[in-house]
């Protein structure tokens, strides 16, 4: 089937602003790089020690021999720190013009005015703009960048930082732990609920840039919060690296939702570690959309360590020409009566490759725990591929595990049915694709759902048959 791309192959956010940074490191990573980052940020000694230890771990750990092709990723060619401006803005007027123009083009200030509870905008290594609505601040919600949090709430950061994902976890978690900069810190006090999203926006501008934001979210007992992140970058012929670590603690009875719409440029390696711990009767929900990047390796996980905890991952991956989305989820049932749901949707087209890689683990004490995994794949043409690699580890005889997987093309029968009702081929295909991804888009805030549908453009004219 010769088709036009389902997702518009033209990347709309590929512009760059030239060199706007006030400080840019030389390429490459040494002990001095790490010491200098820590010195610029005037960090406490324990953080410098944490970074240096993580750097040792990074150098020691081998590259992963599984997943996507990391062959062209050269750690010596990456710029590990770029400071975009002298100070962080509290109003958009404070942000340097070139950077502000970028975020205007991405629609961030407008979105903030319309529907967001707080906004954090990271450009290169640092957060350049930050705001939170006064009423949420008064309720005790903390939403700031992680560097500021380390200065303003040192005890909170020290108590939780690195406790969910230690540097030893994997090579890229170690790298992030050594050179992290920016990211969000969210603290929701006991019993405080807010369903208006807090949003972070991440933008890479320089060539060969490495962005290593570090996010830490603490949802205290019986609280509820929703955090949304988006990301874009310019297109360069050489590779950039985005390697984030996101740690989330969801305390007893709390609920946290973390939504990602990842739309990196097709030259960005996106190697991210995201993990949440859910305590008694807590609920953690990951809503994860991967549209961009050259290679994404990301498996959001939920460690359900308290009785009755719930985990959910709802993800969509779209891989076009030259792209590999190696994504999935991990659900760790480490307490009785825990339940988890994974719904993974993927679309590959124009030689793209999608991989679902997931783990469901039932510890010996996971009495009457339940897991449901559903993977649906749509392969649009003969050049594209998809793999489903589910792992199940069951150490409890009373646990219940369900797994369903489907791999389909756009069904001729469904097309025939719809066209016989008067729809054109393009309209029919579009309707089928929209229906395929609808379980994902319906979980997005309205403005993001609109954005998602815009990203997934169905230029299918003359494509079928």
């Amino acid at each position: 089937m010769a088709s036009k791309p389902i997702v518009n192959d033209e990347y709309q956010y590929g512009f760059n602003d030239g060199d706007v940074g006030v400080l840019k490191f030389q390429r490459g990573l040494t002990r001095q790089t790490v010491e200098e980052i820590s010195r610029i940020k005037k960090e406490p000694k324990w953080m410098l020690d944490f970074r240096l230890h993580a750097l040792d771990v990074f150098f020691k750990k081998p590259m992963p021999g599984w997943g996507g092709n990391l062959g062209t990723l050269n750690f010596d060619d990456i710029v590990y720190y770029v400071k975009p401006s002298e100070n962080q803005g509290r109003t958009w007027e404070d942000v340097p013009q070139a950077i502000k123009d970028t975020f205007e083009r991405l629609g961030i200030p407008e979105a903030e005015r319309k529907f967001l509870a707080g906004v954090s905008a990271q450009y290169e290594s640092e957060v350049v703009y930050h705001s939170i609505r006064e009423d949420l601040k008064e309720k005790g919600i903390i939403f700031t960048d992680t560097d500021s949090a380390l200065r303003e709430y040192p005890e909170l950061v020290r108590e939780y930082f690195g406790t969910v994902i230690p540097p030893e976890d994997n090579k890229f978690a170690a790298l992030n732990s050594a050179v992290w900069s920016g990211g969000s810190f969210v603290y929701i006090p006991k019993g405080v609920k807010t369903d208006i999203p807090l949003q972070a926006y991440f933008r890479i501008n320089s060539e060969n840039m490495g962005q290593f934001e570090r996010t830490l979210i603490i949802a205290e007992e019986d609280s509820f919060g929703h955090y949304v992140e988006g990301c874009t970058a310019p297109i360069y012929s050489s590779e950039s690296l985005h390697s984030a670590v996101v740690e989330i603690l969801v305390k007893d009875g709390a609920r946290m939702r973390y939504t990602t719409v990842q739309n990196w440029a097709p030259n960005v390696y996106n190697l991210v570690t995201k993990r949440a711990v859910a305590y008694k009767n807590a609920t953690m929900e990951w809503v994860d959309g991967n549209i961009g990047s050259k290679l994404t390796m990301k498996y959001p996980s939920v460690y359900m360590v308290g009785e009755g905890a719930k985990g959910m991952v709802l993800s969509i991956a779209v891989a076009g020409k030259g792209q590999h989305q190696d994504t999935g989820a991990k659900m760790i049932h480490a307490a009785p009566h825990t339940t988890s749901t994974i719904v993974s949707k993927s679309i590959s087209q124009h030689g793209g490759k999608t991989t679902y890689r997931g783990l469901v683990h039932f510890a010996p004490n996971a009495e009457e725990a339940k897991a449901n995994v559903k993977c649906d794949t749509l392969i649009m043409d003969d050049d594209s591929t998809s793999d489903t690699i589910p792992y199940s580890e069951v150490s409890n005889a009373n646990a219940e595990m369900e797994h369903e997987a489907t791999v389909t093309k756009v069904s001729e029968e469904a097309l025939f049915y719809l066209t016989s009702r008067g729809l054109s081929d393009e309209e029919a295909t579009r309707m089928i694709i929209l229906g395929f991804i609808e379980p994902f888009t319906r979980e997005l805030p309205m403005e993001f759902a609109v954005e998602m549908n815009r990203l997934i453009k169905f230029e299918m004219e003359g494509a079928i048959g």
Partner: protein, 103 residues
């Protein structure tokens, strides 16, 4: 199984784990000053040898993913580890260390 002699107490280094193999059971033996503890050598999280890890007092850190265990109770103390490892009785008699690997 009963207590089995493994080595001289004086030979067990303090603050650094030692691998001991008893039949089919691989044990990580620890010494904190004059106290001795024995736990499963295999990490409960993924395949790794805890005797190759770093010891910080009563805590051992798995060399592979950074999970930590209390060597006195076997309990997991740090993610990504969450399940406990087994502990084994240890005694010192006449300057020799004995471990009972139970079955």
């Amino acid at each position: 199984m009963a207590f089995t002699r493994v080595m001289k107490a004086a030979e067990v280094p303090s603050g650094q784990p030692t691998l001991v193999v008893l039949g089919d059971t691989e044990v990580a033996l620890f010494r904190v000053e004059d106290e001795f503890y024995a736990i499963d050598d295999l990490c409960s999280h993924a395949e790794a040898s805890l005797s190759e890890g770093e010891q910080y007092g009563y805590i051992v850190e798995c060399p592979r993913h950074g999970g930590r265990f209390d060597i006195r109770t076997g309990k997991a103390k740090h993610f990504p580890a969450f399940s406990p490892v087994r502990t084994f009785p240890v005694k010192v008699e006449d300057g020799d260390v004995y471990i009972d690997v139970l079955d």
